[in-house]
């Protein structure tokens, strides 16, 4: 069950997208997410699809990898589609039974929401699939540095993120180990109703948290022992520099944003 988590997983390949500066990819992702919410009609999915497919092809990441990230959100998809189907107000009623009415507006919204979420997950997973956690956090740190005067702890947030990403595989492995240990003692994670299953997770989560805190303490000490002292006076082993392709990518991203906005303005 823990193996399905693809969050933060990196797919090593030699592609233009992999080589892009992480700041470009971060901005691209933000613009892409924004475009999904700017679009109000099915037509906007034309430029969005073109953009997404283009990036996927350039990234050389197999489509199966991207689809794997979608699997865990299927329940979320079903729930949000169901709510939209039932709760969207409208006049063109299709069926009506008990207190539930289903109308064409609801069907439209449900499909729209599913598409939006699918595109959201597919697009954002590309960011982590093509960027190593370190480059990602380096990009965040440098890209958001303009916030430092506003007392936003940019370096600390970036460091926290990179450590979190580093410990995800360790903690998932540990969760699997604890689960097996509890199963061996007769714990039952599979049967019973939802409440029962949630309660069954407690003997799994408690040791996991305890161990995570112990690891955090150890790590903090190890970092301190290696002269870690926050951002001050720190140099970079692999500093970020823009290359020609990064400026081209910025151009493409803003062009794409312009297309989506123009479509929205013209009601398409």
């Amino acid at each position: 069950m823990f193996k399905d988590i693809t969050l933060g997983q990196f797919y090593p390949a030699d592609s233009v997208i992999h080589r892009l500066d992480p700041r470009v990819k971060l901005l691209g992702t933000v613009v892409y997410i924004a475009s999904l919410f700017i679009g109000k009609t099915f037509f906007t999915f034309i430029p969005i699809s073109v953009f997404l497919v283009m990036v996927i092809i350039l990234s050389k990441v197999p489509v199966s990898f991207i689809l794997r990230g979608i699997k865990p959100i299927i329940p979320l998809l079903i729930i949000s589609a169901a709510f939209n189907l039932i709760l969207t107000p409208g006049d063109s009623v299709i069926v009506r039974f008990w207190i539930i009415t289903i109308n064409w507006e609801g069907v439209f919204m449900a499909i729209f929401i599913i598409l939006r979420l699918l595109y959201l997950v597919a697009g954002t997973s590309l960011l982590t699939l093509t960027t190593t956690p370190t480059r990602l956090t380096d990009g965040m740190e440098k890209g958001l540095r303009f916030l430092t005067p506003l007392k936003v702890p940019v370096h600390e947030i970036a460091m926290m993120m990179s450590i979190a990403l580093r410990f995800i595989p360790i903690l998932t492995e540990e969760a699997d180990k604890i689960k097996k240990a509890q199963l061996a003692r007769g714990a039952d994670f599979e049967s019973g109703n939802l409440m029962k299953r949630v309660r069954a997770m407690i003997p799994l989560l408690v040791p996991l948290f305890v161990s995570a805190f112990r690891r955090a303490g150890d790590l903090a000490m190890a970092m301190e022992a290696r002269c870690y002292n926050g951002a001050e006076g720190r140099t970079k082993m692999k500093p970020l520099f823009y290359a020609g392709r990064d400026f081209i990518a910025y151009g493409v991203i803003f062009g794409y944003l312009a297309v989506v906005i123009v479509m929205r303005v013209f009601g398409l």
Binding site: T132, P133, T134, R215, L219, M221, M223, R226, N229, M237
Partner: protein, 287 residues
Amino acid sequence: MSIIDVKNITYDYHKKDDQGNETESVRALDDVSLEVKEGEFIAVLGHNGSGKSTFAKHLNALLVPTGGTVYICGMDTSDTSNTLEVRKTAGMVFQNPDNQMVASVVDEEVGFGPENMGVPTDEILKRVDDALNSVGMYAYKDSSPTRLSGGQKQRIAIAGILAMKPKCIVADEPTAMLDPKGRADVLKVLHMLNKEQNVTIILITHNMEEVIDADRIFVMEGGKVVMNGSPREIFSHVKELQRLRLDVPEVTKLAFELKQKGLPLRDGILTREEFVNELRLLAKGRV
């Protein structure tokens, strides 16, 4: 000047209750004094809770003594303006290889220390390559630490310290979580650094086989250093060690027991070769 000069240090851990009031205090170090010269290979022995880790943390200014003073290359560790310099001089390797790694790629992990020290980029890259070569892990430069074996991870951790160019490495049970192969690899690296780069090594361990090649051994008990001497001196006191609940190497024990039974063997035999030679001499003497 000795690289490590510990003068009469004590250290108390304070336990606090929910309101922050002190409930009890544990004396983890009790009037410890010792000196280590540059280039020495020191092993620290002692059973669980004898204060080894607490002592190790004092050498790196992770803890400062409640009483007494620790000098690292003449710098007083309790003076906070020395902290960074002390940590550059005495690097520390911990027991759990997973819990001391910060980065998701090996070379970035090794570069973490120099980055913190503000070393320029070109110099960091060079130091990382050198450090990885020293521990024989250069081929794994671009791998993820998660995929490595325990022994390999621990060698990466050592490389991470080496890249800071320390004069001294303090390793707190670095082999405790490793298999025999990983253990041997890590020890080989530590000995190599000691011989070839003149790095002072303080190795804390439970494993007797690991200490016989040390220059000196400190044995700790109840927060005190109770024995201090060369491996041969230490291991000639088998009775004393057993009283301290410490093992001795198998050969040493065998020789000790044979001697108890009346065989006129020398005290403090450490290796199998020595033992065999001793028996040969004995046999010759009889003929």
